[in-house]
């Protein structure tokens, strides 16, 4: 049975966002997309 289009809420908005897409979308510029580094450039 097809469900009415507006009768479901899609938590992903129809886009399969990977970790890196999410972080980029937020304007984050993390090392390799999702690694947090210390200010001196070394892995924190």
């Amino acid at each position: 049975l097809p469900a009415p289009e507006k009768f479901v809420k899609d938590i992903d908005g129809g886009i399969d966002q990977d970790i890196f897409d999410i972080n980029q979308g937020l304007g984050l510029d993390l090392f390799e997309g999702d690694i947090k580094l210390e200010a001196n450039g070394k892995n924190s």
């Binding site: 049975l1 097809p2 469900a3 009415p4 009768f7 479901v8 809420k9 899609d10 938590i11 992903d12 129809g14 886009i15 399969d16 966002q17 990977d18 970790i19 890196f20 999410i22 972080n23 980029q24 937020l26 984050l28 993390l30 090392f31 390799e32 997309g33 999702d34 690694i35 947090k36 580094l37 892995n43 924190s44």
Partner: protein, 640 residues
């Protein structure tokens, strides 16, 4: 990452900060269960250890690589990061893993197309040489949960990573579960020889039938066979695809009288957690009245033969297909699992068969949605399917909707529906987490990659029209009719259009024998609502109340001990907070200063006392000596 100092202890202390979304908290705990099933890594709520992982809702999903010995090490699970594979990915970073495509030999396996990468983002495609990163003698893993997808940092629509073997182009970037090689590396890195919650798996391929034994007190035996004339034609593990293999255990009821039994017992098993989930496939080609009984034989002191306890009776087993079954066990002492086939009344030309048994110390799913002839459904145009109605343990009625209309993705949604308990339930429905899992039907639970999504009912959430999203379905839903003619109301669905791609759905063993299984669990997670020291198992109401009156300072966490709220204060290697509310800071340096200054003070005081004593004594004796001299003079005067 190379360096033993980067490793964590096998049991990692963690804190789930209050900032986390409720759904994320539940997903993180589920991710920990995956670690426990497949590795020796365990997680425990932080109780003052020097280093711990603080999971919080920051901006985005990120982690550091390895144990950085910072005391509190942050790991962010932000908005849209509340997917189980994302949590697994970030924790693998924390455990010491870089991305798969950054390993030293990656250019042998993938081509980085530099001119398709967004300008300025090229640094995300680093390679680490083998003095920084060790691939632990494991082959390059296209299926790693740590691999970028082909679209990572793309400028346009073309792939930034092209696999040298084209078949892997759509494999890279999977976000379902650990791959086999992820586990091999993790277990090697942490010297794991066993996992915490796995107990046994058996597909009956070997003649030793995994150490299972036939009971002596019964009237028949189970037989290890590869096919039965009246069915099944093949086993479940290999589905008859491999010549001279594919075995299962069969209880032939066609040659037995009513009441005959055959008992097959597992080897001895030693529980650690006190709860288990037994999973197996069952096929019936005998009488509809034949039944399978599941027992446990538990060995307690003084009971040499063990105590046999009936755990489940499986009656009216459908004829002619493999069916998945789950049985929840709660055994705390050494035990065996016993499969008893019982010949029922009526004619039989076959019997009962079992295959692909898995036993683990995990929670069983609450419900199974078995979809047969799935290829036909998947191939149909504009098709979608609703599950039968189910009830959660709290009494909420629900239904799952699988959306197959897209040519690339399969969607899945959770709907509350009107049910028999609605008058007694709380509305809008508060904090029920629905977990929907597409089962990978690999015979061995350790080699499965589950595809899972969870959603949580937030009672404050509203729809576009202002009504509460999770309000009573009869109030906010639409009317529909079950196939049997019963009318009901269905609330708005909540889920995702991108549960899995069609391509991945056809991979692995998600579809087996043209069947798929969606495993469903709906559980109350309201206990995760407002305490950051999330104890596992569930805290009591008293925990929440006692701590609600206590505010710990400087990142301290309130826990209840002996019924009293106490602050557990954060500490690093050479610093700590102390006091009733963690209001005072201490450090090794302070201690040294206090010790030195105390010593100097004591020395000074002692010196002053000594000097004063010497001075006073000398003065006293001088006075005395002077007095004696005067007396002597007088005596002499009188003498003359």
């Amino acid at each position: 990452i190379i360096g033993d100092h980067k490793r964590w202890p096998h049991t990692i202390p963690y804190v789930l900060e209050d900032s986390l979304e409720m759904n994320a908290k539940g997903v993180i705990l589920n991710a920990f269960e995956r670690y426990r099933l497949k590795t020796c890594i365990d997680f425990k709520p932080w109780s003052g250890e020097a280093n711990y992982i603080s999971v919080f809702k920051g901006s985005g999903c990120w982690s550091s690589v390895g144990n950085i010995h910072a005391g509190k090490q942050e790991l962010s699970i932000g908005t849209n990061c509340d997917r189980i594979a994302t949590v697994q990915h970030e924790f693998l970073h924390a455990l010491g893993f870089w991305h798969e495509q950054s390993r030293a030999d990656r250019d042998d396996y993938v081509i980085i197309v530099w001119d398709r990468i967004q300008p300025g983002k090229e640094h995300n495609f680093n390679i680490y040489n083998d003095s920084v990163s060790d691939s632990l003698n494991v082959p390059y893993d296209y299926t790693s949960v740590m691999h970028y997808s082909k679209t990572a940092f793309q400028n346009g629509t073309e792939s930034t990573i092209v696999t040298r073997i084209s078949e892997f182009e759509d494999v890279i970037g999977q976000r379902m579960d650990f791959s086999d090689y992820d586990l091999l590396k993790l277990n090697q890195l942490y010297n794991c020889t066993s996992s915490l919650s796995f107990m046994d798996s058996c597909d009956f391929e070997l003649e030793n039938i995994c150490g299972m034994i036939q009971s002596s007190g019964d009237s028949a035996d189970w037989q290890r066979v590869s096919q039965v004339l009246s069915g099944p034609e093949s086993d479940h593990s290999k589905m008859g695809q491999c010549k001279d293999s594919g075995f299962f255990m069969h209880f032939n009821t066609s040659i037995l009288n009513e009441g005959a039994t055959a008992m097959l017992e597992s080897r001895l098993l030693y529980p650690k957690r006190g709860f288990q989930c037994l999973e197996f496939y069952l096929y019936n080609s005998g009488s509809g009245n034949d039944q399978l009984n599941i027992y446990t034989r538990e060995y307690t002191t003084g009971q040499q033969g063990g105590v046999l306890t009936l755990q489940r009776q499986i009656k009216e087993v459908p004829i002619g297909s493999w069916q998945l079954h789950y049985v929840t066990l709660q055994v705390t002492k050494k035990f065996r699992v016993v499969f008893e086939g019982l010949r029922g009344p009526g004619t039989s030309s076959g019997g009962l068969s079992i295959d692909d048994i898995n036993l683990s110390e995990t929670r069983c799913p609450h419900h199974i949605w078995h979809i047969q002839n799935f290829t036909q459904i998947l191939g149909g145009q504009d098709t979608s399917v609703y599950s039968p109605p189910f009830y959660s343990s709290k009494g909420y009625a629900f239904q799952i909707y699988m959306d197959l209309r897209s040519s690339t993705n399969v969607g899945i949604y959770f709907h509350l529906i009107s049910g028999a308990n609605d008058d007694q339930l709380q509305w809008p429905c508060p904090w029920q987490q629905a977990t929907m899992t597409l089962l990978d039907q690999n015979p061995d639970i350790r080699q499965r990659m589950f595809n899972q999504r969870s959603i949580t009912t937030d009672p404050t959430m509203t729809s576009d029209n202002g009504s509460y999203f999770w309000d009573r379905p009869s109030k906010v839903g639409v009317t529909d009719v079950f196939p049997n003619g019963t009318q009901f109301s269905r609330g708005i669905g909540y889920g995702t259009t991108v549960f899995i791609t069609r391509e991945r759905l056809k991979s692995r063993e998600f579809i087996k024998g043209d069947d798929i299984y969606i495993l469903l669990t709906v559980e109350d997670i309201s206990h995760l609502n407002s305490t950051s020291a999330v104890p596992d198992p569930v805290p009591t109401l008293a925990v929440h109340n006692a701590c609600s009156e206590v505010v710990c300072q400087n990142g301290g966490i309130c826990v209840v001990q002996d019924g009293r709220a106490e602050c557990k204060c954060p500490a690093g290697e050479d610093w700590w907070y102390m006091g009733k509310r963690c209001e005072k800071r201490g450090s090794t340096r302070d201690t040294v200063i206090i010790a030195v200054s105390s010593t100097v003070t004591v020395f000074a005081v002692m010196l002053i006392i000594t000097l004063v004593s010497v001075y006073c004594t000398r003065r006293k004796y001088r006075k005395k000596a002077r007095a004696n001299t005067a007396a002597m003079t007088l005596e002499n005067q009188h003498a003359f």
